[in-house]
């Protein structure tokens, strides 16, 4: 199948071809790949795609997944609006 049709990160629409291109340009850090294309930075915060991307990076670099610098997740884990936060505090 065409790598540019295989979507690894749905939130940010990043394909296998995009990740390969970055790896081929010489990037060997998943953190830098993330910063370059925003994979794992979408609304699901990488819950769907982090493993998939890490596996691709590991495979390309002939490393194990444990050796890849996988980004950490940040709060808030569940998306929340500023309006909801104001409500918790008794309104504006």
């Amino acid at each position: 199948m065409d790598d540019s049709k295989i979507i690894l990160c749905r939130c940010e629409n990043v394909t296998l071809a995009d990740i390969r291109k970055l790896l081929e340009s010489g990037m060997d850090s998943m953190q830098e790949i993330k910063k370059a294309c925003r994979c794992t930075m979408g609304p699901c915060q990488g819950r769907t795609c982090k493993e998939l991307v890490a596996r691709e990076v590991a495979r390309y670099l002939h490393k194990s997944v444990e050796e890849v610098d996988i980004p950490v997740s940040r709060i808030p884990i569940k998306p929340i609006t500023l309006g909801q936060i104001n409500e918790f505090n008794g309104g504006v």
């Binding site: 910063k35 370059a36 915060q45 808030p76 609006t81 500023l82 309006g83 104001n86």
Partner: protein, 385 residues
């Protein structure tokens, strides 16, 4: 990793990657950059993505000029496809006559310098910033040369271009000490090996003081924590950053990718330490301050919240050039605004370390050097928070 270098740059943020790039542009063959994590781990990957021209001192206006001009041509220069630059401007609202006077005087200085700055009435503010609630403002200053960009792509673009020019970049390589002999720099120590060199440039941003300390050099720079959030992306509407300098101490900007970045400057923040923990208290304060300004933002999901630091010098300026204590030890620091000043910082730091003529007038260049602190010649910019 190379064992020797003409110049070693410490830190792979925008300041360091830009410095490395400019060194190679000036013909230095063997530039080695060492970064404790990856590019960009520090402020450059955590900031609000803005570059600015609305300043009130010549020192800052010159930095803005060099920087914005380089940002306009950066894609062409580095071969990066898209740095997501938008000349969306900043809008600094005035809430009373005193604010208005100050902003009008800033605009006059900026115009005189050659920048496209304007003072707008509330109707004009609404036109450029359709979602801003203008009920409580009496006007605002605005500029059409400044705006937002993607700082992560900028740092990686400088890195790629410097590597193409022969520089070596080493991730996960923290500097742990320096070899200083007879008051001269001789080498850099890292867990991955030592690098012999006569020239080191400290571009460690908010860590700049700690790097200085390792060489026995004292730098009056303090980290200061700042937090920020981003919302889910929505359709991009080009509009200025709403920078509430006088009332809410907040900023609101939709970047080209679609998310809104928002932050608040907490005057009571503990300075002096590096702390990446986001705090719930910040979200509460932010919500209270943002919703009255742009009510629609109350409905967007916040998907990430993180913390980073400024690395403030006493006058919030930049610092390039050498130091009295150690020969061969140079600076590329300016981590209150190193994203917007990245191009200028890299240019001036490289020129200073190589002893070349600076790209700004000599009297302006003097205001970026370390001896200004001992002389007490600090210049404060009224256009800054």
């Amino acid at each position: 990793m190379r064992k020797t270098a003409d110049v070693v740059v410490v830190g792979g943020g925008i300041a360091g990657t830009s410095t490395a790039y400019h060194l190679t542009k000036l013909g230095v063959k063997n530039v080695v950059l060492v970064e404790q994590q990856y590019t960009p781990f520090g402020g450059s990957g955590r900031c609000a993505a803005m570059y600015r021209q609305q300043f009130a001192t010549e020192s800052n206006l010159w930095l803005a000029k060099l920087s914005s001009e380089e940002y306009y041509r950066l894609e062409e220069e580095t071969g990066c496809e898209d740095i997501e630059l938008s000349k969306c401007g900043y809008l600094l609202p005035a809430y009373n006559k005193e604010n208005e006077e100050q902003l009008k005087s800033n605009v006059a200085i900026q115009k005189e310098f050659g920048f496209d700055s304007y003072y707008l009435d509330p109707k004009g503010c609404k036109e450029v910033s359709p979602y801003l609630n203008t009920d409580e403002i009496i006007g605002g200053s605005y500029n059409t040369g400044e705006g937002c960009l993607n700082p992560m792509k900028v740092a990686l673009a400088y890195k790629a271009a410097a590597m193409r020019n022969g520089a070596e970049f080493n991730n996960y390589t923290p500097v742990t000490g320096f070899d200083v002999q007879g008051g001269k720099i001789k080498g850099v120590k890292t867990p991955n090996g030592d690098i012999a060199t006569d020239c080191v440039i400290n571009a460690a941003g908010e860590w700049g003081k700690f790097i200085g300390r390792m060489a026995g050099v004292s730098i009056p720079l303090e980290p200061e924590k700042h937090q920020i959030v981003v919302t889910e992306p929505v359709e991009y509407i080009k509009a200025p950053m709403i920078y509430s300098l006088y009332k809410y101490f907040t900023y609101i900007i939709q970047v080209k990718h679609g998310g809104f970045l928002m932050g608040w400057s907490d005057a009571d923040v503990k300075a002096g330490i590096i702390d990446f923990e986001p705090e719930w208290k910040f979200l509460e304060n932010l919500a209270k301050r943002i919703v009255p300004q742009v009510p629609a933002l109350g409905n967007l999901n916040v998907i990430r919240h993180w913390a980073g630091q400024y690395g403030n010098l006493p006058d919030h300026g930049i610092l390039v050039g050498g130091v009295p204590e150690v020969e061969g030890f140079y600076m590329a620091l300016g981590a209150t605004k190193a994203t917007m000043f990245g191009p200028a910082l890299g240019t001036l730091a490289a020129e200073a370390a190589l002893g070349e003529k600076p790209s700004v007038p000599e009297d302006i260049f003097q205001t970026y050097l370390i001896d200004r602190f001992a002389k007490g010649e600090l210049i404060f910019d009224k256009a800054l928070l």
